[in-house]
């Protein structure tokens, strides 16, 4: 029996690996004295694949038998190259428990090919989660994939059992989706996504009134967009993400550079096409600016801008598009502005704010605080560092950043360092952010 399970595991893990989500965070499930597992913290990556992706969950398909024929998917109906197999509920449960007790994983991410219809498939996924929770006292992380078209009752039960639910949009435009996945449309995707969103909102409301009310997918909802299988630009993709965050209240959008599998001429040919890993990376950076740094979509990717700059990160690109907003004085600028400086992260910006409560922050302090001076030096000032940004064209700054040799040393200046002006009001040296945000 083991032999058979290991073969299924290889096939069904291989088929699930193109799903980028690995998060095990955001759960709020505490363990019980006799239970096993919890998912309360920030999530743990228990290993990393040789391509550098986090391995946090046992990520498998329940079955790779599928009635759909999506060109980007290895399990598509018309692909004769794969062996079709399916786990039993007990097999997935046993694997999850055995792996979890050995500290290999944070939990389970279960998806499936649609082997009969949406409800039959979803019923199996729910049965696995139910057995883990009820028969085994499992309080680790469970992420279930929602099968488009599943009934609201099943979705509700799935949401009670799971920490996260996800419906993959996959293709960033409906026209593109129709091209490569003739059986799917956006209605099928956004229907269940809306249902899950409402479930999450309702459960949160209920729990405000009654602390014992059941949770519903407390880790939130996520989705994935496949990059490069269809011709959408980065601006179009980010527009979609922005809408998913604001309207569907998604916790995360994942971007998955399309890896061509061959044998289907509706998508790019592996002979001539390379997976757009670099583009994927820039999209993630832009996504962080939208979610965590208070940037607006148009600031990160102006309307009609096509793809993001491949050579520089989106924050540096933003700074070079608006050179008159810089440099920023680290000793007076508000936190929201420090976070907009290329080379400064949320953490180093907070460190600066904490340090200047007691004194003046100087150039040498910045390095210790984790600031990436190679980029930041053009965009910030300290009493002993005053870049002459206005004399430089954005293009020359760009060249210097891309050229990449800079060690971050202060520019030699003909002038003595300007006197320290501690009492300068913040507004005198740093312009207000163009889009004011509640702090």
């Amino acid at each position: 029996m083991r032999r058979q399970v290991i073969e299924k595991l290889e096939i069904l893990a291989d088929a699930a690996k193109y799903d980028a989500s690995c998060a095990s965070s955001g759960g709020k499930r505490e363990n019980t004295p006799t239970g096993i597992g919890n998912s309360t913290g920030a999530g743990i990556c228990h290993s990393y694949t040789e391509d550098g992706r986090c391995v946090s969950l046992l990520k498998v398909l329940f079955s790779n038998v599928c009635i759909y024929d999506c060109a980007y998917c290895v399990s598509r109906r018309s692909n004769d190259e794969v062996t079709r197999v399916a786990f039993t509920v007990e097999e997935v449960v046993e694997l999850t428990m055995g792996f979890y007790k050995r500290n290999y994983i944070e939990g389970l991410f279960l998806s499936s090919g649609i082997f009969k219809d949406a409800d039959t498939t979803t019923e199996k996924l729910v049965a696995v989660a139910r057995s883990l929770r009820q028969d085994h006292g499992f309080n680790g992380y469970i992420h279930l994939k929602v099968i488009p078209g599943a009934s609201p009752e099943l979705l509700t039960e799935a949401g009670r059992l799971a920490d996260r639910l996800s419906v993959n949009v996959e293709i960033p435009s409906e026209a593109g989706l129709k091209e490569v996945a003739p059986d799917k449309d956006y209605h099928q995707v956004f229907g269940p996504m809306g249902h899950v969103r409402d479930g999450i909102t309702e459960a949160k409301e209920e729990r405000k009134k009654n602390r014992r009310a059941p949770r519903f997918a407390a880790g939130g909802q996520s989705t994935q967009l496949v990059i490069g299988a269809t011709p959408e630009t980065d601006r179009q993709i980010l527009e979609l993400s922005d809408g998913l965050y604001s309207e569907q209240k998604l916790r995360r959008v994942y971007y998955s550079g399309f890896v061509p599998l061959g044998g289907d001429d509706r998508v790019p040919d592996p002979e001539t096409y390379r997976a757009p890993l670099h583009r994927e990376h820039r999209l993630y950076q832009a996504d962080w600016l939208l979610r965590k740094y208070g940037f607006e979509l148009d600031e990160v990717a102006p309307p009609g801008s096509g793809n993001l700059d491949a050579e520089i990160d989106p924050k540096t690109a933003y700074a070079l598009r608006f050179p008159y907003l810089f440099p920023v004085d680290v000793n007076t600028a508000p936190l929201e502005w420090l976070q907009r400086v290329p080379g400064l992260g949320i953490r180093s910006a907070k460190r600066i704010v904490a340090a200047r409560r007691r004194g003046v922050v100087r150039w040498d302090d910045l390095r210790a605080m984790g600031v990436v001076l190679k980029r930041a030096r053009f965009f910030l000032t300290t009493p002993d560092h005053r870049p002459q940004l206005l004399d430089r064209s954005p293009e020359s700054v760009r060249q210097r950043i891309v050229g990449g040799k800079g060690d971050g040393a202060p520019q030699l200046s003909l002038f003595a360092p300007a006197p320290v002006r501690l009492a300068a009001p913040a507004s005198a040296t740093s312009p207000a952010p163009p889009i004011a945000r509640a702090a």
Partner: protein, 280 residues
Amino acid sequence: MTTSPTAPPKPAGPPALPVDPHLAVETDGTLAGLLCAYAETYKRGALPASVGLIGEPASGALFGDVVRVETEAAIAGRVERGLERLVPGLVGRIHRAILGERPGIEVAALRLADAVRAEGAAAADDWTFEPAREVAQWSGRVGREAHRMEAFVRFERHVADGAETWVATARPEYHVLPILHGHFSVRYPTLAWRIVDARRGLALVHTPVADRAEGALPTRIVPAVTLGLGDEAPDEAAYQRMWRAYFQAVTIPERRNLALHLRHVPKRYWPYLTEKQPLD
């Protein structure tokens, strides 16, 4: 807007103590010992230039005075409450920092504690103040190593006299066993597990609540040599094989990026990672 240069913070107490270059103290090496050392030096009106271990000779002749600090739970508790009231989380930060076993870090911790007492909470997060930065950086390093242990420790199931024990071995860079118990005790309360630190010859041993004496702590740290091992459980090899098979299957060859992989999983962890053992 949350920030603009603010007025100098109100001093929280008498001014910061000077460091006496001739003063050395000795403690038992624990966090409680260090907190007691702070109480002792505060009484004397000067901070020490060195903190050593009781019984281990300090770098001798430099120091006129070597003060031996007895650890008293009541005193340590009082110092801890005082610091926590000023800066919640500071004692945990100091604890992690000293587990880095870095010479001189205790002195930095005492200077930090004293600055917080004298100048207020803002000193703790001021990275331009060297003791605050050193403690924060070492706390970060040790915390990261502990987090990696939470991720990379691999339990193997052993059976002796019908009872199962889950055994993991690791070689942490820093002495992280004292800060791992919480995570694993909450996660596996019903399992008898232990984590062996092969570098230091110590083991963190957990006893499930059902097997514990009234009032006994869930975990203790003991010399690893005192522990018997039992036999590997019959299904252990199969699970390890399945995990290796899984790990192979989830790699996307077209995306292979070994530099990134090594940044996440440095080679020093490989000897104890199940997925890094040869396929069979």
